[in-house]
């Protein structure tokens, strides 16, 4: 600290020996300039848009690198989180959002380290609460592009309440739920998405908990965009994330993410070359539901789903169910295909609905009232009702 300008260091209580001080970056030269005036003019309470960022066109030429922070990525080698980080960093430059308007908010867990690796605004908050913090941020600053990074424990266990409420309120944010069906950061306990019978450190005789299906949960909470993708299919993931981002409302994306340390291969049936065609079903709006390289399809037999063989001659593609992502009924039905031995696991956009966002309703209401009654006058407010004057 020898290079610190004199008087810059805060006076600290005794006990801090100079020699023991942590290595700290050099102090900025000269006096710290006070910031410029607040972004909101005094006397007004209306949030203003951030400064115009288009001037130098800087944000137009961003690349993946521009979104990587200087922090070392600390996930275990081989962790599925790397693929998600890379995909997001590749996607962001294509979205055309000024970098300074992007905010990543996370909770706690392996996945929640994500914001540290992004050269954007971010907050690594507390366990389960990212949707709550993001709600306050997005509601008060609708122009920001807010991404929530969470995991199966973070979103579905400790933060379950916040997740369902942000979905029903429909804030225009993206929720990336990294589902690895395990607690990784706490070293391997079963999670609310772990399968029954799972042997983990906390369930040596097998888990007796019945798992959540995050897709059904999000649909049940009136999510307006509900999708699933996987870490091992970056192309699909990027496309789904793009759509989640473009959706004017809460874009909920469950991402199957391999935790190679505590739950290796949990999703391999759906993600690995040998089994993926047979076990994964990629759903698309207005397209018939087929899998196994088009050799099999899904049809409705009454209200039950039936796998049909498209090569045997009995059934053709015309018999397959054509997916409609705007249908609550269909999304419910397909969303509930969950680890069924006889049915493939669906990936893609399950449901999409346009519904006004919370922040839009909030500010429309405020602005409507201001338009009708005029901006609030504090003196008038304080004098509202009965007053009386005591003379000198």
């Amino acid at each position: 600290m020898a290079d610190s300008p004199k008087g810059k260091k805060p006076t600290l209580p005794p006990g801090m020996q100079p020699g023991k001080k942590p290595t700290l970056p050099p102090q900025p030269a000269g006096k710290r300039k006070p910031g410029s005036p607040p972004g909101v003019a005094a006397g007004t309470t209306r949030p203003v848009l951030p400064p115009d960022t288009g001037g130098d066109g800087a944000s137009a030429h961003l690349t993946r690198k521009d979104f990587a922070s200087d922090q070392d990525v600390r996930w275990c080698p081989g962790c599925g989180d790397y693929a998600i980080l890379a995909t997001v960093q590749r996607l962001l430059p294509e979205l055309g959002v000024p970098r300074e308007n992007i905010v990543f908010i996370s909770g706690i867990g392996c996945s929640s380290r994500f914001p540290y690796y992004m050269e954007t605004y971010g907050m690594h908050s507390i366990h389960g609460r990212a949707p709550a913090i993001a709600t306050g941020l997005k509601a008060s600053r609708p122009e920001l592009d807010v991404w929530i990074i969470t995991g199966d424990g973070d979103a579905l266990s400790i933060g379950g309440n916040h997740l369902i409420h942000i979905l029903r309120r429909n804030l225009n944010v993206q929720i990336l739920l990294f589902n690895n069906q395990i607690y990784g950061l706490t070293k391997g306990q079963y999670s609310p998405t772990s399968e029954q019978g799972k042997i983990t450190k906390s369930t040596p005789y097998g888990s007796i908990d019945y798992p959540f299906n995050p897709i059904s949960l999000a649909l049940g909470a009136h999510g307006t965009f509900v999708a699933r993708t996987m870490d091992r299919d970056p192309k699909h993931m990027k496309e789904i994330l793009r759509q989640a981002h473009d959706h004017p409302g809460t874009g909920f994306v469950e991402i199957y993410q391999n935790c190679n340390i505590f739950n290796d291969g949990a999703f391999f049936p759906f993600t690995e070359k040998d089994t993926k065609p047979e076990r994964a079903l990629f759903i698309e709006h207005n397209r018939p539901l087929t899998f196994a390289n088009g050799t099999r399809g899904l049809r409705l037999d009454g209200w039950r789903l039936q796998v049909i063989d498209l090569q045997g001659g009995d059934w053709s593609i015309d018999d397959c169910l054509v997916y409609d992502e705007t249908s609550r009924e269909l999304s419910g039905l397909i969303g509930r295909m969950f680890w069924e031995p006889d049915l493939p696991q669906p990936f893609g956009v399950f449901y999409r609905e346009e519904r006004r966002t919370y922040e839009d309703l909030l500010h429309t209401q405020i602005e409507g009232l201001i338009e009708k009654r005029g901006r609030g006058d504090l003196d008038a407010l304080l004098h509202q009702g009965d007053t009386w004057v005591i003379e000198d």
């Binding site: 600290l12 900025p28 005036p37 600053r141 920001l144 003196d379 004098h383 005591i390």
Partner: protein
């Protein structure tokens, strides 16, 4: 109908305490607040104490269901809602039973004589009718057949029996207004405003109000009526204000003076919900209110809004603070401004939700994991809630820190005349968002989010949306200046001390602590929060007896004002009254190593001035 001018003699008295009590469905809160309004307009000083049951609809006629509204008014400074009641208006036997102990000997009791049937008496747990067995001999009891007269007066009103019976509080209000020579107009205006669209109900209420007033004049029971002359208050424009309202107004004032919009996250909880109700009406001030899914989301959203550059505020009561604790720690770590209001109530657990207590001080000071200091201040009267809210915002924004503001149910629902400040006189709260990098390393400009202001130790506030200042905050320990995650042992100690020192710096701009009474003497009474009125009333009386007593009321509980040791040294003894089992007294003992004497009441009720006065007399005897 025109009112006869009074023929009865008028006796001028310096002050009076009256208590309206009845079943929770009898409209006693409304009766009390209308009487309060009339009294405020008669320019008396006043203080009120609403007291209602925790159950919304407790069984009718039982003592659990009794709702009361106490009001003291006078021509001198009124500091408390009164120790002893001069007039009790009891709408049923249960109300009489619950509140009789508060009535002074020779005090007056107006009862609804119709409500003393066998069944009503049984419900209230009376074996014998107290109106008949002589147990009320030391009081002046006026038996008024309120129900009968109400039914008679409204028999042609077109209202049904239930509606008619529900209106009898208007008769009682009219009678009370007559008895204390209060104006009827404010109540008439209120009825017009409230029931203007329902002419039958409006007319019935007006008719009854006037009937009650007229009854006082004509009945032979009342031989005198009273008058309380206007109080000599400081010149200015006044209004009656409740604490919850004053808190909301103070927040809005701070919003205007800082230029930041308020984002108020809250989950319904008694007695804090009133602030949410108030603020949710103030949307034209740009106030964003968010009724969250739970207490944790309420504070989380407020903190998220602060991260975005708004003035994040949340309010709750003790149980809610317990739930918010982890997020408060995050606010300490991220060093974002946040105002947290605790409307304290009786605890622990659900405790006494509608009763008052000061038992969350230690929770406010210490109730978080880790070393998580934050400034704590307290409001002392309903009107003072305005200044306290404004001050909490100032500290939060100046020092980039969460601040806890302690109020309580008594302050929140209590009302007093309030001299309306001129908003032009309120100080600005300067806020600067950073717009440029604050550091250069190897020729590259960077933003370091934990470089501090030399004076306040506040870190810079960079709003998302500002180009070039992208940074990450979080709950993991921060490296000094860079804000990067750091597990370095020495850094952790350094940062822990820095955060503590920053909160201590708040003491640098505190005003001198005001004393009530002389600057030196035999005894100093030290209080905080809503006990102010009782303490000062007690000290005043003791001083009138010639005792050398003063009092000091703490706005700032963390950090404590730097001038305290010097003040304490000027008094021989130090008494600390609190509505808890001794919390400030522990803090003071630990901090100043002086023999502070506790005085505690833990009944869910405020101190009576007489209780504190007695403690003073005992000490100085």
């Amino acid at each position: 109908m025109s009112l006869p001018t009074s023929q009865k003699p008028v006796q001028t008295i310096p002050e009076a305490t009256i208590l309206f009590a009845g079943d929770s469905g009898d409209g006693m809160q409304l009766t009390g607040s209308q009487f309060t309004l009339a009294t405020a307009l008669a320019r008396n000083d006043l203080a009120t104490l609403p007291d209602f049951p925790a159950e919304i609809r407790a069984p009718a006629g039982t003592t659990y269901g009794v709702s009361g509204f106490q009001l003291r008014f006078g021509s001198e400074h009124v500091r408390t809602p009164g120790d002893e009641v001069d007039l009790l208006v009891a709408m049923n036997p249960a109300a009489l039973k619950v509140h009789l102990p508060r009535v002074r000997p020779e005090g007056a009791i107006i009862v609804n004589a119709d409500a003393f049937t066998k069944r009503d008496l049984e419900l209230a747990g009376y074996d014998h009718n107290p109106l008949e067995n002589g147990s009320l001999a030391s009081y002046r009891v006026f038996e008024v057949p309120l129900t009968t007269m109400t039914r008679e007066a409204l028999k042609d009103s077109g209202l049904n029996q239930k509606e008619i019976d529900r209106s009898k509080n208007m008769f009682a209000l009219g009678l009370a207004l007559w008895l204390y020579s209060r104006p009827m107009q404010p109540a008439l205006d209120w009825i017009e405003q409230k029931f203007g669209k329902k002419p039958e109900i409006r007319d019935a209420n007006i008719h009854l109000l006037k009937k009650g007033y007229h009854f006082g004049e004509t009945t032979e029971d009342f031989v005198v009526r009273y008058e309380v002359r206007p109080a000599r208050l400081q010149p200015g424009t006044y209004r009656a204000i409740r604490g919850a309202q004053a808190l909301a107004f103070g927040l809005v004032a701070a919003s205007q003076k800082s230029g930041l919009p308020i984002f108020y996250g809250s989950y319904p909880i008694t007695p804090a919900s009133d602030i949410l109700h108030e603020l949710s009406r103030l949307k034209t001030f740009g106030v964003m209110t968010f009724q969250a899914e739970d207490e944790i989301a309420a504070v989380g959203a407020a903190l998220g809004a602060s991260f975005g550059g708004a003035l994040g505020v949340t309010a709750t009561s003790g149980p809610g603070i317990a739930l918010k604790g982890e997020t408060l720690g995050l606010a300490v770590m991220t060093e974002l401004p946040l105002v947290v209001i605790n409307m304290q109530r009786g605890g622990p657990s659900t405790g006494l939700p509608t009763k008052t207590e000061q038992s969350d001080l230690l929770q406010a000071l210490y109730g978080r994991n880790g070393e998580a200091p934050m400034p704590v201040i307290a409001a002392s009267t309903p009107g003072d809630c305005f200044d306290a809210a404004f001050e909490a915002c100032r500290i939060a924004l100046t020092y980039m820190t969460p601040v806890i503001l302690l109020a309580d149910g008594y302050l929140g629902t209590g009302a007093e005349p309030w001299r309306i400040p001129r908003t032009a006189d309120l100080p600005d709260i300067p806020v600067s968002f950073v717009t440029k990098p604050n550091h250069t390393a190897n020729g590259t400009a960077r933003f370091l989010p934990y470089v501090r202001d030399e004076q306040t130790l506040a870190r810079p506030w960079a709003r998302p949306g500002t180009p070039g200042l992208e940074h990450r905050l979080g709950g993991l320990e921060k490296q000094h200046e860079t804000g990067n995650v750091s597990y370095d042992p020495a850094n952790h100690e350094y940062m822990t001390r820095l955060r503590a020192e920053k909160v201590e710096r708040v003491a640098r701009d505190l005003p001198p602590t005001p004393l009530f009474g002389d600057p030196a003497g035999d005894l100093l009474v030290i209080g905080w929060g809503s006990t102010r009125g009782s303490i000062e009333a007690a000290v005043q009386r003791a001083r009138e007896r010639g005792l050398k007593v003063s009092s000091l009321h703490l706005r700032y509980l963390n950090p404590l004002p730097p001038d305290l040791p010097e003040i304490f040294a000027r008094f021989d003894r130090l008494l600390v009254p609190e509505i808890n089992n001794g919390q400030l007294v522990r803090v003071l003992r630990e901090r100043y190593l002086l023999p502070f004497i506790p005085l505690n009441k833990i009944q869910g009720l405020p101190f009576r001035a007489a209780e504190i006065e007695q403690a003073i007399l005992d000490l100085l005897a």
